[in-house]
Amino acid sequence: MQVALKVWRYDAATGDRALREYEIDAPEEATLLDCLDIVKDKVDGTLAYRKSCRMMICGSCGMRMDGAAVLACKVRMYDVAQAGQVPVISAMGNLPIVRDLVVDMDPFWDKFKAMKPYLQPGYDRPEDGREYRITQPRMDAIKKEALCINCGCCVSECNAMESDPEFLGPQALAKGMRFVGDPRDAATVERLEQYSGEHGIWECTRCFFCNERCPKGVDPRDAIAKLGAEAIKNGIDRDMGAKHAKWFVRSSETTGWLRETELVPKTQGIVSSVKQMKFAMNLISHNKAGLAFPPHVAKDVGEARQLHKIVREQDRQGAFGHIQGERALAKLAHGVHDEGRDPYGPGSFPKPYLPEDTE
């Protein structure tokens, strides 16, 4: 098939950027990475990009296709080529470009290392010198986080990192959750304390681009949510973000409504609220916010309270609430398959049979 690509080239020596178009002949099963290989072999040997395993596990070939981060080895080009589209290939975002499609991964790994990304065991180590005894469902709490291949696609797309380059970001925080959720790790509180600091958990703007773009289904935003829930559960709630989240909970439990007017003082404190009085008055005069008193109580507030009670009774306040929710969702969204289909129905491959013994 004929494949056309536009590639943003970047010359490290001169700092020049240029969009170059390539047209190549590729086999039908070709991926984006295969196409880049053909360009490099047959058209332009100076094209620079990273690659290694070509099977979605090494995480080398993260790049952008039409502005969205992808693993080049995972993208089959057939449909794109058939539709006559000419995708634009560029380096990942939020990381300095070294050359063409190669970015400097040092800032990425610095954040990874800042997470203390290694198990910190406590005193209750296996006495018999053997493995820890942990059930599979308990380990599965960090199943998704353990899938991360550090390709950088989530970081490339992170909106919060665009405004705060020091934000730890989705991959580092997912790695953090991998340890917070590991029953063998004894540094949970220290970790949550550290991750809750400036540039940490609460910096996330919840745009969900990381979940959307992760090629491995790690769902880093969900990991960040789990960290937040665990932090609050452990009483680590000094950050405005944590206070903000807590007020949502408190407000919904007491009145069944979000009491927005109180949100600012509860989250940012009195001094900051006073400073924003003018803005608040402006909102009120335009009917965008109501007065705090008397609070409006929802008719069915009892149901809201009942929900909170169940969460507490079943100990779902921390990460486990999220994980259970995820499992329920997973049955709907992930691991989907065509349940009605009969693998042995008409037109399917013949049923297996054993040949007669030859000996």
């Binding site: 290694s52 190669v102 990874f112 493995e131 790790d185 054993l354 030859t358």
Partner: protein, 560 residues
């Protein structure tokens, strides 16, 4: 010379990282050199599992593991190495688990173990079907914990040999350009395999036998180079690996009629016979016209959706992305593909090579645990156990010796050689030579080997080498010049492929992965129960033979 360390580890996959961790813990100043970032190493693509006789799933013992390994090796494995290997493996696994490895569990909370090919007991510890990924992560975590220096994206090019000792490595700095020489009292090579010599391979683009070729040119002997394992289940058409764990979980192999043909070739073990046996059976079916598009079918339909999603999610994803087939409903087309090099740099059981100060571990090495055929799950274990042993030995030697002396003349020679290559203004680019090597190796030196085909290949390789001498690197830049490194890699593949051919022609028997059904169909213990040894002499391989180290097990007929 830019920097000196006690121990330099070249390669940062499982073996390299394990060696570096051990050397660090032994008190040495250690650094790793890798042409990739450590977590990009191809160990991470291992899927099915890692073998150790923990006896969690059924009764098992290191002796039983050793026997299976000896038999699997077609009696060519060195039995002292195998005994050390199987004895030390369980503790290594426990250590990995204690470090935080995300292994799968059985209901009582202990590590789960699944059946694998040619194993007498369910012995393979696993993490769904991403075991290699989990190991790479846990090892890199431990590297971070120790803050071990990694020269990332440094392409190791030549060994520094001075005064009869290996004392460092000359590297090309991929990100910034320029040759950088690193001094080391000892050097551990852990550079992995060279599957890219073949057009159909499970191996990453990075698997080009760099360390093996470096050692070869430094005069170090290579052992059993003719034995290249063909994995029975690589996806058609890309050659991407589908784990043996699929068959471990119960998948069938079918020919185009739906017949479970393995019954004819391995009546007892069926799909779980050893890899050489299964690959040959598949190739026989395909050659007899009972395949589809040069493949057979891997059928998991009877396992059911739940089990496939739970235990083999990665294999399902690979099948769907790269073959467009959902294994829950359709069988997956697979065929044998180059997978693992049993041969490599000859080492003793501490990873030491013939050259003082040079050690090797993992796939690039040959302590000869695998002999003529490796069992699934043994290679990851080898990287850990012998990575550790060689890291320890390299550190101990380095700590008892003090000097590093890298003559400037060596660096100048390397500079000149590089300049020659980069200054060339025109010529043939590497890709055509690379493709011809891959295609011809697959045709002439794959699952079944014929005398005349090997002879033809032995003529092709020097021709390709001749063309390679004038190869043209189009990229002249300093920053991320992968055009240059890919050209150097091609040279490494050509030289190691030549060694494989030289040894393959001389081995006039069928043993393990070296099958010559047309001229020498049986194993010949009288003449060939020995290791082939290849050295580099006057720019060509030179062959000799060495004894197999036997302890308990005498050769028997091998049946599955």
């Amino acid at each position: 010379m830019i920097e000196e360390h006690d121990v330099l580890v070249v390669g940062a996959g499982c073996a390299g990282m394990r060696a570096a961790i051990e050397a660090f813990d032994a008190g040495a100043d250690v650094a790793m050199i890798s042409k990739l970032h450590p977590t990009r190493s191809h160990s991470g693509a291992a899927e099915g599992g890692i073998n150790a006789a923990l006896g969690n799933a059924a009764e098992d013992s290191p002796e039983s593991h050793a026997y299976d390994t000896v038999k699997g090796s077609d009696y060519l494995g060195d039995q002292d190495s195998i005994e050390i290997f199987t004895r030390e493996a369980p503790d290594d696994i426990i250590q990995l688990e204690n470090w935080g490895a995300f292994f799968s569990r059985q209901p009582d909370g202990r590590l789960a173990q699944r059946p694998f090919g040619a194993a007498g007991s369910p012995r393979t510890i696993y993490a769904a079907d991403i075991t290699g990924h989990v190991l790479i992560q846990v090892l890199y975590e431990q590297v971070c914990k120790r803050d071990i220096k990694v020269y990332e994206e440094f392409f190791a090019w030549q060994l520094v040999v001075n005064d009869g000792r290996c004392q460092g490595v000359i590297c090309w700095d991929l990100l910034n350009g320029g040759l950088k020489t690193l001094g080391g009292k000892t050097v551990v090579l852990a550079t992995g395999g060279a599957g890219r010599q073949y057009r159909v391979t499970t191996n990453a683009y990075a698997c080009t036998g760099d360390g093996t070729a470096m050692a070869l040119r430094a005069g170090v002997p290579l052992k059993d180079m003719e034995f290249m394992q063909f994995h029975p289940t690589t996806l058609y058409p890309t050659g991407i690996l589908l784990t043996e764990g699929c068959r471990g979980e119960g998948a069938y192999l079918l020919n185009k009629d739906g017949e479970r043909f393995m019954k004819k070739y391995a009546p007892n073990a069926l799909e779980l016979a050893s890899r050489d046996v299964v690959s040959r059976s598949e190739q026989t079916e395909i050659d007899a016209g009972r395949g589809i598009n040069g493949s057979v079918m891997l059928d998991m339909r009877h396992l059911g959706a739940e089990r496939i999603i739970e235990r083999l999610p990665g294999s399902r994803e690979l099948s769907m992305v790269f073959a467009g087939v959902d294994p829950i409903y359709e069988p997956v087309p697979v065929r044998p593909g180059a997978h693992y090099h049993m041969g490599g740099i000859e080492t003793d059981t501490d990873g030491a090579t013939e050259l003082t100060g040079l050690y090797a571990a993992g796939e690039c090495a040959c302590v000869s645990v695998h002999g003529a055929n490796r069992l699934g799950g043994n290679s990851l274990m080898e990287t850990i156990t012998f990575g550790r042993r060689s890291g320890r030995a390299a550190a101990e030697w380095a700590l008892s010796n003090t000097t590093i002396d890298v003559p400037e003349s060596l660096e100048r020679d390397a500079e000149r050689e590089l300049k020659d290559l980069l200054d060339r203004g025109s010529g043939e680019r590497p890709w055509k030579i690379r493709d011809e090597l891959g295609t011809s190796m697959l045709e002439n030196f794959a699952v079944f080997r014929r005398g005349e085909q090997m002879q033809r290949q032995l003529e092709i390789i020097p021709e390709l080498r001749e063309r390679y001498r004038k190869v043209y690197v189009e990229d002249k830049g300093n920053v991320f010049n992968s055009d240059l490194t890919q050209a150097i890699e091609l040279g490494n593949m050509l030289d190691t492929a030549w060694c494989m051919l030289e040894a393959g022609i001389a081995r006039k028997e069928s043993r393990g992965a070296h099958a010559r059904p047309y001229d020498y169909p049986t194993r010949d213990d009288v003449n060939f129960l020995k290791h082939s040894i290849v050295r580099w002499k006057d720019d060509a391989p030179e062959l000799s033979w060495a004894e197999v180290r036997m302890t308990k097990w005498q050769p028997e007929e091998r049946k599955y």
